[in-house]
Amino acid sequence: MSDHHHKETFVTKYIFSTDHKMISKQYLITGIFMGVIGVFMSMLFRLQIAWPEKSFSIIEAFLGHHQDGGVMSPDIYLAIVTIHGTIMVFFVLTAGLSGTFSNLLIPLQIGARDMASGFLNMVSYWLFFLSSIIMVISLFVEAGPASAGWTIYPPLSALPQAIPGSGLGMTLWLVSMAIFIASSLLGALNYIVTVLNLRTVGMKMTRLPLTIWAFFITAIIGVVSFPVLLSAALLLIFDRSFGTSFYLSDIFIQGEVLHYQGGSPVLFEHLFWFLGHPEVYIVLLPALGITSEIISTNSRKPIFGYRAMIGSIIAIAFLSTIVWGHHMFVSGMNPFLGSVFTFTTLLIAIPSAVKAFNYITTLWKGNLQMNPAMLFSIGLVSTFISGGLTGLVLGDSALDINVHDTYFVVAHFHLVMGVSAIYGMFAGVYHWFPKMYGRMMNKTLGYWHFWITAVAAYGVFFPMHFIGLAGLPRRYYSNTAFPLFDDVADVNIVITMFAILGGAAQIIFLANFFISIYKGKKATQNPWKSNTLEWTTPIEHIHGNWPGEIPAVHRWPYDYSKPGHEEDYVCQTTPLMDGEEES
């Protein structure tokens, strides 16, 4: 691939590039851009929840005709929550996270010159870009963007009579997501084929870094589940535009009976969560893969239980496709089915527990190098445990009854998937920034960024469990309609203050990131003294990654502090010494 040299123009190098390293950067920048929008939205609706009747000039400034004297309208509140959720889950933590690191690391860590198909890879990015643009455009629709929650349950999402955002806003949401799904499928197929076919000499599957295992399995889950969301969306489009009744039946709204008959919203719930739950792991597994790599490198120790880690990734992936019903315990589904889903759901706690224990054991007797990436990885393990444990409440059908759709759920999933995956993403950026940009990020700012974020994240989401346990439903524009909830008002103020603190801390990151691109200290060849192949490529990016032959691999990636070696790391390219056993 590398031997035919074609001249690169600005357009082929920076815009329609087929080079995986450039595409990875494009994903990252787009993801960060969407992330800024998503986080900013959470600030706006947190202001509303904490001070429901108060006027804010920032709300007046950004919400145009959707606000009145600096107080947002109930419709736009729901719209912002919906778009916040959609952007965070899909655009930031699916495309932004997987897209960035799968693209960057798969070829570099398995020893390939590029992805199996550079062209499809480019198409995949540009479809993602297009879907992002459409999602952003939908924010400016007169009646407001999609407002039925990120889960877009019909009939609410199907009927503009029910909520204004279900008109053009919802149409754009569906179009954007359809394109998004096409993009992730192209990406995922590429990742799978590349990992299976393009590994360098000696790179057995059991010598792959855990990052690659995570990206690989994530791609498989994506290929299995995203098409189901696509079909769910298509049927919804039919119901909305062509009068079919897949999800709708017996509806009387605004004084008239609609013609729909025989459909069921529960069908949509099944289809949605058949993707929706695996999606949680599509978001999380790459972050866990990144963490495995970073914790091991910075502990100067092999990851504990490499094979068990692979086994648990596979087990989680498999189980993730048969637990979707735990989102539907009170949907009217047959209670017996609920029992089955409780069983499978609590089963998935076992491989998750194994992962958590293995991370902790990896730290034990290590020699921890406290780089910013390491801090975020340790932070991830903490939030993963905190959030995962409350899954025992929600996954248990009986207990879910009273906390379903309350703020307890919001607290749970933000910790286990939102914050954990965001930490994984930050960790990845700090760690591989030198590989992406040839420069380093500043560590002092990294420390500030981590500690403020860590305090803020727990400050926001820990108290949030309690307002959920007080019975406060989520997606409420205001709690003032219930004197019963007057005593959660104070808690909401505390949460919002921590949220603003956490949001502001991200400015430190943005500053560090963008200015380091241009002014950061020049990177050295292998700044973290890591074993994996990406650190054997030249710092300057070249097409085809390695100037000469692709190096062969002789050992697994985790020979840190191995007895008998001078240094505390042994690159995968180093042949085994006489009499040395492979771990």
Binding site: A148, P155, F252, P302, R307, L363, N367, A470
Partner: protein
């Protein structure tokens, strides 16, 4: 315009941070031994913050939690909840301690070599089997409660009530003398017949439509839920009860109220909670609040989702019966 100002402000802040950082030697990029030390200690401090936050929240926020369960089934729910919560807290306390402690204890020192410890099947077996056993117990216990709670059989002469949801209101319909609800469909909605009851069905005539939900203490109630337009969810947190209302289908849930509204008002936890609320209300100059059970909507359903509620009144069976007898039947309402 102001929006632009805010964006500019954010950029200015970013630049300012950068400037400050450059004064503080921005070329430092890789953790030194000194950093390892400081950050390790910070992890210990963070551990303390973490436990502090946990303890603080449990102490400070216990008063806002829901009072004791007001249904027989809810008691089993609460026990299961306690058991699970204790388990969670034990695991949480131990694992987080180990995590922060190791981060502190093993912070890097120059020249020390980490222990090369890649695997231990024994350890991994231990932490696969122990969670598996504990979870198996939890699943069995949970399922026994679930089966119990979801039992909507009419063995014990239950009261049958329909709860009807629409944007953004609740209505109810009691099954009347025959304790059987008449058929209904949104296509029959007309004028005062707001629930679309089928008046040609003879079971419907004695049904009793109401705007308040009264329930008898000690008698099992089977709820049949319907929705007129979009998904709603009937959430009765004090009874540990919730079920979605789905257009085009009837869903159900059952429980046996165990405390009248009056009794609940005298419950210790309720008193503490209401006192807390009234203190806040007094500060804002609002009328004092008196406790009532509530039915809330808990599935996003439109602009006024946040204010879709109905009062629930639990009373002794005799009071309940005389209330019910004073209500008009469908036949009387429609004629």
């Amino acid at each position: 315009m102001t929006a632009l100002l805010y964006i500019l402000l954010a950029i200015v802040v970013a630049v300012a941070i950068w400037q400050i950082a450059s004064i503080l030697n921005l070329k430092s990029v890789i953790a030194t031994e000194k950093d390892n030390n400081t950050q390790g200690i910070l992890f210990a401090a963070f551990g303390i913050f973490f436990y502090g936050l946990m303890i603080f929240s449990f102490v400070k926020y216990s008063s806002i939690l829901l009072p004791d369960s007001a249904s027989v089934e809810g008691d089993r729910y609460d026990t299961l909840y306690m058991v699970t919560m204790v388990l969670i807290l034990i695991v949480q306390a131990i694992t987080q301690f180990l995590l922060f402690y190791f981060a502190f204890k093993y912070r890097g020192i120059k020249g020390r070599k980490a222990l090369f410890y890649a695997d231990s099947h024994k350890l991994e077996l231990i932490w696969t089997v122990i969670p598996a056993v504990v979870l198996a117990g939890l699943v069995l216990y949970g399922l026994s409660v679930w089966i119990d709670v979801m039992d909507a059989s009419d063995a014990e002469d239950p009261l049958i009530v329909e709860v009807y949801a629409k944007q953004f209101q609740w209505e109810a319909r009691y099954a009347g003398e025959d304790n059987e609800l008449g058929l209904a469909n949104v296509r029959n909605i007309k004028g005062i017949n707001t629930m679309g009851v089928d008046m040609t069905d003879k079971n419907a005539l004695d049904d009793i439509p109401t705007r308040e939900l009264h329930l008898p203490k000690g008698r099992k109630v089977i709820f049949k839920f319907r929705s007129q337009d979009v998904l709603h969810s009937a959430y009765m947190p004090h009874f540990r009860a919730q079920m979605n209302c789905v257009p085009g289908m009837v869903t159900q849930f059952a429980f046996t109220p165990s405390m009248t509204t009056e009794e609940m008002r005298l419950n210790d936890k309720t008193i503490t909670k209401v006192e807390g609320i009234n203190k806040i209300r007094a500060e804002k100059g609002e009328d004092p609040y008196e406790f009532d059970y509530l039915l809330l909507c808990n599935k996003i359903c439109g602009a006024s989702h946040y204010n879709m509620q109905m009062k629930i009144i639990v009373e002794e069976e005799s009071e309940f019966n005389s209330w019910l007898n004073s209500q008009k039947t469908m036949a009387q309402v429609v004629q």
